[in-house]
Amino acid sequence: MALINILEAVNKTLEQQMEKDPTVVVLGEDVGYEGGVFRATAGLQQKFGEERSFDTPLAEAGIIGTSIGMAINGLKPVAEIQFSGFMFPAYNQIATHVARYRNRSRGKYHLPMVIRMPYGGGIRALEHHSESLETLFAHIPGLKLVIPSTPYDAKGLLTAAIKDPDPVIFMEPKRIYRAFKQEVPDEEYIVPIGKAKLVKEGKDITVVAWGALVREVEKAIKLVEEDGISVELIDLRTIAPLDRETVIQSVQKTGRFLVVHEAVKSFGPGAELISIVNEKAFLSLEAPPTRLTGFDITVPLPKGEHHFIIDPQRIAYEIRKVVRY
C-alpha cells in the first residue's frame, strides 16, 4: 500500500506496466527527459531508457500517428497529449485511424494503445488548457473513454487501459492531480472499463458525475443532507462505453436524475445520459431529468473562471430543485 495522489498513481502505474511488459512505451511532449509537464512520466526515461520513454516534437498528429505504427507492430504505446485542448491536430489520426483500425482491417489488426491527456478547468490556466472534450471522443465508435476520480481508480483504470487490446482515451482530471491522497495497493490490479461506481447509496435522487466533479458532488451532498435529502452518487468512470445499467437501475429506484459535468451543455454527455434515462426509466420519473453543466462558451480565463466552475453550492441548489419539483 502507498498513500499517493492521482498524479503519483498514474506515474507508478506506468512504471509498473513498463516493468512488467517490455512492449509498453511512453511518448509525448516533454515526457522523456523532463518527465512531463505535470511529472506524470517522471523517472521513466531514467529507469527504462530513451527507447521506452521519449520526447516528441510539438506535433500531436505525429505523436498519435507514430503510436499507431508502434501499436500495429506489437508495441503498447501510451501517448501523452500535454493538454486535451492540444489534441485537435491529432484528432484526424484518432477519429479516422485509431478508432477504425480494427474495423478497417476486418479484425486483422488492432491498436493496443492509450492516449493520456489532462483535461478540465478550475486551475486558472490559459486558453486551450481547460476544456472538457468528452463528447468528441465518446461520439466516435471504436474509442473507449475513461476518466478516473481517485488515485485508486486512476491506477486500476490505467492498468486496464494499457492491457486493453483496443485504443483507450484516458482523460486525467488535472485539477485534482494533487488534491488528495489515497491508499493504493502496490500490486497490479484492474478497475474494469465500462463499469460505473456506486459511490454512495441514496433514496431521493441519482446524481451522476465523473472526474474532478465527483468530489464537488460529495461536498454538495453534505449540504443537502442537512435538508434530509438522500442522494445516490454514481461516478461514471467510463464515459464510453456507458454503464447504462447502473444508471438506469438507480433512477428506477430514486425517480430523479441529475448529471453534473464540466463539459459545455449543448450536445454534451449529459444530453446522452438524460436520453438514456428517458428511454429506460421514464415510468419511474418524479421530475425532469436534469443537467448541471458548463455554459456553452469557451472556458473563461482565470479572471472569470469562477463564474464557470461548478461548485458545491450550485450542485446543492440543483439537487434541491429536482427533489422538490
Binding site: 486551475i123 485534482i176 447509496e201
Partner: protein, 430 residues
C-alpha cells in the same frame, strides 16, 4: 553581498525542490556556474550563479522546497550592499500551504488530504419505499388530486399506474370521505354564477330566517334520500262531522279546522308504526325511536316557513290541539313564538291545501324521517258501491326517509292514517 532569489524560471512556476547543491558554503563560484539543481513540476532546472563570489549561505538543504522570491543563496560578490530590509521581508518563507502550491500552467490544488480507501462496496441505505411505475403525467395527476400514487395498484402494462387508476382511487376515496362526514352541509357547493349587470337584476340579501331555511333544506335534501307516496282519502264523514261540531267549538272560542283531526290520526298511526317517529344516526347506524309525539306544523309566514310543533300531541284532545294550533299560528305570524316550540319535533305535517294545491313532494325536516303533506279537500266524483257519487276528497302526500323506511312501510302508514280520517269516530274512540 548578493541576495540571489529563486526566480520564476518560466511558465508560472511557483516553487521547486532542491535536488542537488553543486557548491557549499565557503565555496567560490563564478558567474554562470551551475549553482544547484531544482526540480519543478515541469522540469529539472540547472540554476546558474548570477555573480562571481563566495557563497555565504544556502537557502535550503537538499530536498527542501523553495518558493519563488525566497533567497536561494547569499553570495559575497564584494559589493557592500546588505540585503535590503524589504527584501528580507519579502523573502519570508511562504508556508507550504496547500492553496498556494503551483502547477506548470495555472494553479493546481495540492493537498495531503487522505480520502477513504476504495473498496467498491458501500453502506446500504434504508430500503426505499415501494415505487410504482407511472408516466410523469400520471404522477402529476396523482399529485394534483392528492392521491399517493405509490398506494395505487396499477392496471396498465407491466403494472403501471394509469390515469384511470388514479381517477378511480380518487372517486372511491371521496365517496368514503363523504360518508364519514357529519350529515351537515356547512357550505353551499360553489359554482360560478352567470354574469349579470346591475341594470338587469336586483340583488337582495336574504333574511336570517331565510338563511335558516336554506341551510335546513340543503341538509334535508342532500342527506335524506326522499321518496313520496300519495293517496286520495274519502273524508266525507270527517267533513260532515266537522261541519256539525264547528259551531260548538266556536262557542268555546275555538276555530275547528281539519288539522287537529289529521294530527290525531297521524299520532295514532305513529304509535302503530314507530319508525315514522324516529331519527336515523347514520354514523352509528342506529335508529333512534322517540317515545314522545311532538307534531310539527309548517306555517307559512310573511318572512318564510316556520315549523312550530305541538308537544305531546298524543296526550291532548282534538279541542286542545285545535286551541294550541290557533295560538302557535298567531305566534308564528307575529314572530313572538318561543324557540322551544320550534324544537324537538318528531313528525311534521304541511298543509299546502290552503293554497289550493293537491299533491306535493314535501321535504322532510331533518332529523325527522317523514312528513305528511295535506292537499285541499275538494268534492270529486268517486265510485262507491258501484255508483258514482260526490265525495269530499283529501289528497295526502307522504315523504319518507328511504334509508330506514321502505315504500311498503309508507303504504301501511298511509292506510292507517286513511282509516282514522275516513272514520272520524275511531279518532274519538281511541
Amino acid at each position: 553581498m548578493y541576495d540571489f532569489k529563486f526566480a520564476d524560471i518560466g511558465e508560472g512556476i511557483h516553487e521547486g525542490q532542491i535536488l542537488k547543491w553543486m557548491f557549499q558554503v565557503g565555496d567560490k563560484v563564478k558567474e554562470g556556474d551551475t549553482l544547484c539543481l531544482i526540480e519543478t513540476d515541469k522540469v529539472n532546472a540547472e540554476i546558474p550563479s548570477p555573480v562571481s563570489g563566495v557563497i555565504k549561505k544556502l537557502g535550503g538543504a537538499v530536498g527542501d522546497t523553495i518558493h519563488v522570491g525566497n533567497t536561494l543563496a547569499l553570495i559575497d560578490d564584494g559589493s557592500s550592499a546588505q540585503p535590503a530590509k524589504k527584501d528580507t521581508a519579502e523573502a519570508k518563507p511562504i508556508q507550504e500551504g496547500e492553496e498556494n502550491s503551483a502547477g506548470v500552467v495555472g494553479q493546481i490544488e495540492v493537498s495531503s488530504e487522505v480520502i477513504e480507501s476504495s473498496t467498491e462496496s458501500y453502506q446500504k441505505a434504508d430500503v426505499p419505499t415501494k415505487r410504482v411505475l407511472a408516466t410523469p403525467v400520471a404522477r402529476q395527476l396523482a399529485k394534483d388530486l392528492g392521491v399517493d400514487i405509490n398506494k395505487v395498484t396499477g392496471t396498465g402494462e407491466m403494472g403501471r399506474v394509469t390515469k384511470e387508476d388514479i381517477y378511480k382511487i380518487k372517486e372511491s376515496t371521496s365517496k368514503q370521505s363523504i360518508a364519514k362526514e357529519e350529515p351537515i352541509v356547512s357550505k353551499p357547493i360553489s359554482f360560478k354564477m352567470p354574469e349579470t349587470t346591475s341594470a338587469d337584476v336586483t340583488r337582495v340579501p336574504i333574511t336570517k330566517i331565510r338563511k335558516t331555511i336554506v341551510k335546513n333544506m340543503v341538509i334535508s335534501k342532500s342527506v335524506i334520500p326522499h321518496t313520496t307516496v300519495m293517496d286520495e282519502l274519502d273524508v266525507t264523514n270527517l267533513v260532515n262531522f266537522r261541519t256539525e261540531q264547528k259551531e260548538l267549538a266556536l262557542s268555546k272560542g275555538v276555530k275547528l279546522t281539519y288539522m287537529p283531526f289529521i294530527i290525531k290520526a297521524v299520532v295514532l298511526a305513529l304509535k302503530d308504526y314507530p319508525v315514522f317517529n324516529s331519527s336515523f344516526d347514520h354514523e352509528k347506524e342506529e335508529i333512534i325511536y322517540k317515545h314522545f309525539y311532538n307534531i310539527g306544523l309548517a306555517v307559512d309566514t310573511p318572512d318564510g316557513l316556520i315549523v312550530p310543533n305541538i308537544k305531546h300531541a298524543d296526550r291532548k284532545s282534538i279541542i286542545d290541539v285545535a286551541k294550541e294550533l290557533q295560538v302557535l299560528s298567531e305566534e308564528a305570524n307575529n314572530r313572538t313564538i318561543q324557540l322551544d316550540k320550534l324544537q324537538n319535533g318528531t313528525f311534521t305535517i304541511t298543509n299546502y291545501g290552503i293554497f289550493g294545491s293537491t299533491f306535493g313532494a314535501p321535504v322532510i325536516k331533518h332529523p325527522e324521517v317523514a312528513i305528511l303533506g295535506v292537499g285541499m279537500i275538494a268534492k270529486k266524483p268517486i265510485v262507491r258501491n258501484n255508483e258514482i257519487v260526490i265525495a269530499d276528497i283529501m289528497p295526502l302526500s307522504l315523504s319518507i326517509d328511504h334509508r330506514i323506511i321502505d315504500g311498503g312501510d309508507a303504504g301501511r302508514f298511509m292506510m292507517r292514517v286513511k282509516e282514522y280520517l275516513t272514520n272520524p269516530m275511531l279518532l274519538l274512540l281511541s
